[in-house]
Symmetry: C2
């Protein structure tokens, strides 16, 4: 099945909502109830979930538990995923702690930094190793997802080292586009870009208030 | 001018690239050179920058410094913007430190938390105040942008308090959609959703590798 990143992001949101409904003992929900409850679009829900038709009962809605299980499987969240964080500064450390604190399929399996003061310390439950250990530690612990939280100038080199060690997905906090080989996927998270987007609408309140796209 | 969030995000990226070019002493750049250098799309650049036509010289390209200044003004980044961070846990603290460490128009002017152990401490250069101080501190320091970094269950209440105190833009790290009144803009940053997106393509390498949309 071919799914765009924006659709995937919406499926992730549906998953969170379905978990809350399950926690409240709800077994069935209509797209309209679902939309009203979580401030989503009923038409969009119906479109996104059309491929999961077997869980939709005409005139009644969706069965919560089977739909939840199906989306979890589709997204690959029924498996454990090991992450490696490179750059244990404020953002990298916070990310490791954040993932460590929350339940879910993600485990921070390794952390790397070039600062000798950070190497050997434990952050968010993970021992910080020198960057030179990427080549051995990443394949050893079967890590496939890398988090790049180093300064912009170092990001490409770190990304190359991660990919050489077997990483296939990169979440990039550095404010730079990374070049990767085919089969490697990157996702940029640039917090300043989000702030700049907010500021644009702030400085010109008369500008469009089109709802967020992601 | 009516600009979509995705276009704004691209303008932010162009701005970073233009700053690098200026730092290297480049005065003029063609859309093709610009695209090649920073791994962007030349056609997209031309389309996005068409409204800044006065800085494009046919057959030559764009004048770096005037274009940079114009985009900076358009995005409102020639002004100082005060932020308030609510929730000084790992993510909120990292965000405050991250903004404090980097130059730019953003200043963390206030930090709030309900944990008595955190109140009174200084994080990223800002004194942590109790959440009850939002109503007085936010207008006092002319803060217009709020960062919500509290657990999902508390996010809506905090958002309501921020908006009541005068906040008009909310960057939300909590994994929940916020309801806001008209004229208030929210941007969700859910790190787990980005991880979930990466995992989808990881577990099914045969799936589409369409490039990232944002």
């Amino acid at each position: 099945m071919d799914v765009s990143p924006l659709t995937l992001n919406r499926l992730s949101i549906y998953l969170r909502c379905l978990r809350r409904l399950r926690g409240e003992g709800v077994c069935q929900v209509s797209s309209q109830q679902f939309a009203d409850r979580f401030r989503l679009s009923a038409a969009q829900i119906r479109k996104d979930l059309a491929t999961f038709g077997e869980f939709g009962i005409r005139g009644v809605g969706y069965e919560v538990e089977p739909l939840l299980r199906r989306i979890t499987e589709l997204l690959g969240l029924d498996q454990r995923h090991a992450l490696a964080v490179v750059g244990m500064g404020s953002l990298g450390s916070a990310f490791a702690r954040h993932i460590g604190e929350t339940r879910g399929p993600f485990v921070v399996a390794a952390g790397f930094d070039n600062d000798p003061d950070k190497v050997g310390r434990t952050v968010g439950g993970v021992l910080v190793e020198p960057v030179s250990a990427i080549a051995s530690t990443v394949p050893e612990r079967d890590v496939r997802i890398g988090i790049v939280a180093v300064p912009a100038a170092a990001a490409q080199e770190i990304c190359d080292q991660l990919v050489a060690a077997g990483i296939r997905s990169v979440l990039n906090f550095a404010p730079v586009r990374l070049a990767t080989s085919e089969g490697v996927r990157t996702r940029n998270v640039d917090l300043r870009i989000y702030l700049e987007e907010l500021v644009y609408y702030l400085v010109s309140p008369s500008r469009s208030w089109a709802s967020e796209e992601a």
